[in-house]
């Protein structure tokens, strides 16, 4: 594959980009920090990415730059055939509840920005003959919980969008994969209490690559979270009001 990748420098994105590089895919990095992208580009090249890995600026909060960023990826990859978005904003429920500006920025990047980017990319890939869109949502979007419904809402919106995008574009040759990670030990979740069934980034990356290859439209990672969320979604509201998680 020839993949334009948003978020390859950190956490699950770093692990997934490495997984793709190690099997010889070509990569083009998009993100905010050129220094970080440089470091990750060299890492991915050393691990076997096809050809040199270059990068261009992209900020999920600034949709006006998306067209140019996708065009740069297309040029560098000699027609990209996949977009992967693992990047996004994260903050604790407390911080978001107390700081409206921060909440607005998170909702904007995680939902508006990511949706606009994936929509443009899907259209671009369909027009060029097909490809794949893969974006990281979260199990937090499957059911609102009092402890993280603000972040969860941004991901619920994204999950709904990706679900629809897949319906609209799969028949035009662009399947869309919505990844729903459960709790994964990364820098993003550092300092948070670690629940049972916590996952590791490398294992998530393996599951996601398998789901990409199988052209699935949704994947939970680690896969046990599919069943956990099935139960949590089925909980009666009266129960959800009582539990504190």
């Amino acid at each position: 594959m020839k993949v334009a990748f948003v978020g390859a420098t950190r956490g699950m994105g770093r692990a997934l980009a490495r997984g793709l590089a190690e099997r010889g895919d070509a990569l083009f990095l998009l993100g905010r920090d050129p220094g970080e992208m440089d470091l990750s580009a060299r890492d991915l090249e050393s691990r076997g990415a096809a050809g040199p890995v270059s990068h261009a600026p992209l900020d999920l909060a600034r949709p006006e730059g998306f067209a140019e960023a996708l065009a740069a990826a297309d040029r560098a990859l000699a027609r990209m055939d996949a977009l992967v978005v693992t990047g996004g904003a994260f903050a604790s429920q407390n911080d978001l509840a107390q700081d409206p500006a921060r909440l607005a920025a998170l909702l904007h990047a995680n939902f508006t920005g990511t949706a606009l980017l994936c929509q443009q990319a899907a259209e671009r890939l369909a027009a060029a003959g097909g490809g794949l869109v893969c974006a990281f949502s979260s199990v937090a979007g499957d059911r609102a919980r009092r402890s993280n419904y603000l972040y969860g809402a941004s991901k619920a919106g994204l999950s709904a969008f990706l679900d629809g995008l897949d319906l609209a574009y799969r028949e035009r040759g662009v399947p869309v994969l919505c990844v729903k990670p459960g709790f994964v030990r990364t820098g993003m979740t550092a300092g948070m209490p670690v629940p049972p069934f916590a996952g590791e980034p490398d294992a998530v990356a393996r599951d996601v690559i398998a789901a990409m290859d199988a052209r699935r439209h949704v994947v939970y990672a680690p896969s046990v979270w599919r069943w956990i969320m099935l139960i949590i979604r089925a909980l009666p509201r009266a129960v959800l009001r009582r539990v504190r998680f």
Partner: protein
Amino acid sequence: MPPSDAPPPPLEPVAGWGRHPIVPGRVERPEHLALPPGFEPLVARGLGRAYGDAAVPARPGGRVVESTRADRIRSFDPATGRLHCEAGLSLAEILRVFVPRGWFPPVTPGTRFVTVGACVACDVHGKNHHRDGSFGNFVERITLLTADGRLVQCGPARERELFLATVGGMGLTGLIVEVVLHLRRIETPWIVLETQGMASLEVLLEGLRLSAAHWPYTVGWIDCLARGRHVGRGILMRGRHATAAEAGAHRARRPSRLRVPFDAPEWLLNPLFMRWFNGVYAWTHGRTLRRRVVSYDRFFYPLDAIADWNRLYGPRGFLQYQCVVPRGAGSRPVLALLERLAAAGAASFLAVIKDCGPGSDAYLSFPLEGTTLALDLPYRGAPTESLLHDLNGIVIEHGGRVYLAKDAITRPDDFARMMPRLREWQAVRDRWDPARRFRSGLSVRLLGDPA
């Protein structure tokens, strides 16, 4: 990204692989190695395979900077094997990425779950020490974040003193951020392995000596419970990387996924069980020479196949004891150590013996030309500690020393007697970290650092 006003990380128990001692610490796992804000002392940590207190905070609640997420490869030159990486890259990753391309770590300890930074800080050695020396011999450059917050490059030819103090310096000269090292070319991932039963310690040591000339990797295994004329009987193992012709049609198997799910009960380790275990092991090898081709992980990392194997030693944990004694003393010190162990009825799963080549110039590097012995002992409080002090006495008497990556017990005065270049090392440390920003349980115990 966590905000800059993020609270310090929550407390979690921090221990070495032997799970003794355990100290609560605040562990950061940054993707970019940096000093935490303020002037609080900190200890660097990798994958936690040092057995004792080397990567344990100096005091309860102390800061720990774990390097495992700072694991990017900065560059790799496929023509020369020169690898420039961040300090948190593990040998497991290096093996996974580079073995298929025909490269192997120049030196590897008995586990692949060790970071490059830790390989430098402990100046680790392996089965090829008699031929190649320790890890530091293959390091071209270290990028060190020093106590004053500067990034300092050091190597054999630049800031040489700092380099010699950092290799084997147990992370106490600064935070190792990046390393440039040289990998070794291999033709196949396979190892030609020969094993042979050895009737006594003398025969085993002679076997190691004779094998050293022709085999890059040698090691012996000793049956600690054998008595009388059988003392020191064991198995000699020697290996080399197989050529393509020798490897033939061997195919890699999936790595084992065994895991020890809970702390084993302590009766499992009673002397009778150990005697049986050791007897079976010796019997299965017999006395004849066997040659076969095995995968590199079976040869180098037999214990890595069982995740969390340290839990076999029960909830009180265990100590690993590894010492080296100069060759000049012959087999006497090893015999004395084995006799003292037998007298204590203290059995061991593993007693590993190996001949070391010439030592390194690094001030605190462990290996010296002679014989090294390593064994595990379940931790049973004061009796275990006093046994180890007795063993240290034998080691000091013969001019040897213990390996800090394994140590949790040695006393500071004993340590000073083992390390003839300790003063020189301390002078370098005084220059680069006068306030002791870099501190560990080990540095408090052995070097008198404030807790």
